[in-house]
Amino acid sequence: MNKILIAVGLLLALGLLGGCAKEAPVEAVDPVEQAWQAMNETYNDLETAQEKTELFESFMREFPNTAYAGRLASAVAYYRGEELDDPAGAYAILAETLAQNTDPEARYDIGTSMFPLAMELGETMDLGAVAEELAATRALNFSEMIDVADLALAHDQWELGVSYSEAALERATPEAFLADYPDDDYTAEEAAAKADRRKVMALANLGWAQWNLDLAEEAMAAFAQAAPLKTVNYLGAADTPVDLYHGKVMLAGGEAGMAMDLLAPGAIMGSDDEAMAALREAYIAEKGSETGFDEWIWTQRKGLAKEVDTFTLADYEGNPQDFAALTDGKVTLLAFWFPT
């Protein structure tokens, strides 16, 4: 990108130096930039997933070997792959773009978006190779490492999961956190808390991957190291997969009761489908059958439920609104969002 800017700058400078005083120099317009801007303007008027993904795909087909093609990959995987339920179509356009793209940053973006589709369709794809290509040009940040580990774990690629979890664990320090966010102001205390959260995420993934490679002792050590650093969400469920993976390991190891304790908060109050499936299995292992499971969940839910905090915020006319008054005696959905 810098090279292009320098080249454009040089052309402009040459034009001016060339004494074209009588005629205004023709502005150099990068066709990729122009198409990208036009696409963004068109996008705002589109309503359906079909229209959106077709717009992105036409850009990718026209400019497959650009950084922008990489930035569109996850949107195509989402809109075509998920919303339109056409994983084969999404895979095809991403694979075609990847084959023509030579930028390691874009290849990483395309590759990580394409990998779940490839696995779903039974295609072979080397996720580690795409990540290594990028790592050869610059150090991966923590999010990238944990993303690769998560993708690997979701598709039973345990060795890849171990190596990227270990790499992520090395970046679970306050110094590495601050280095990943050089433009933000974090206090030492905030950085330390973020580093601990990173540690829990990396150790949870590491433990699960190790367990699946029959490294049971190492796995238990990873969970034991993560447990005291664990943080929970508003409803008391772990905000990392540590209890999910620890619970699944307990279940597999025949400790169904302990598995239920670990899995219940995330399954019931974290809307974690994977935890719920494991919890159901643990319940059956503990009680001998699925009978009474739904009633048991309902009782647990009532036990875990907490009284909602109230607050006052302004509406868009500037009027303060008291949440307690809005919810009084009603069933309320409170949703946190931001416009995109």
Binding site: V308, L313, L334, A335
Partner: protein
């Protein structure tokens, strides 16, 4: 968050005592008001506060958007969701019905 899908739920259940309250966690006021107007959303939309008045992270510890909580008539949080995928509104409708 697919806010227009919540409008459908709101229209279906509001007469039975169901309310929807959405909070823009990033204070993107211009975009938010345009979006609300364009999509004809009629439930309560609030703007997050700043500093001490910030509620999304300080009180509700929200790590990612969209996050939502379903609260029963007694004010207890009975369900929570992170993310909103196509089809999730059917699941949400069942949960709302379980509390109405």
């Amino acid at each position: 968050m697919e806010l227009p899908r919540l409008q459908t739920l709101y229209d279906t259940y509001k007469d039975q005592g169901f309310n929807v309250v959405v909070v823009d966690g990033k204070r993107m006021t211009d975009l938010a008001t345009k979006f609300i107007e364009k999509n004809g959303l009629t439930y309560t939309a609030l703007e997050n506060g700043e500093d001490e008045a910030e509620v999304v992270k300080n009180i509700f510890m929200v790590q990612s958007f969209p996050t939502s909580f379903l609260i029963d008539r007694e004010g207890r949080v009975m369900y929570s969701h992170v993310g909103f995928e196509p089809g999730d509104e059917e699941h949400l409708a069942e949960e709302i019905e379980s509390l109405l």
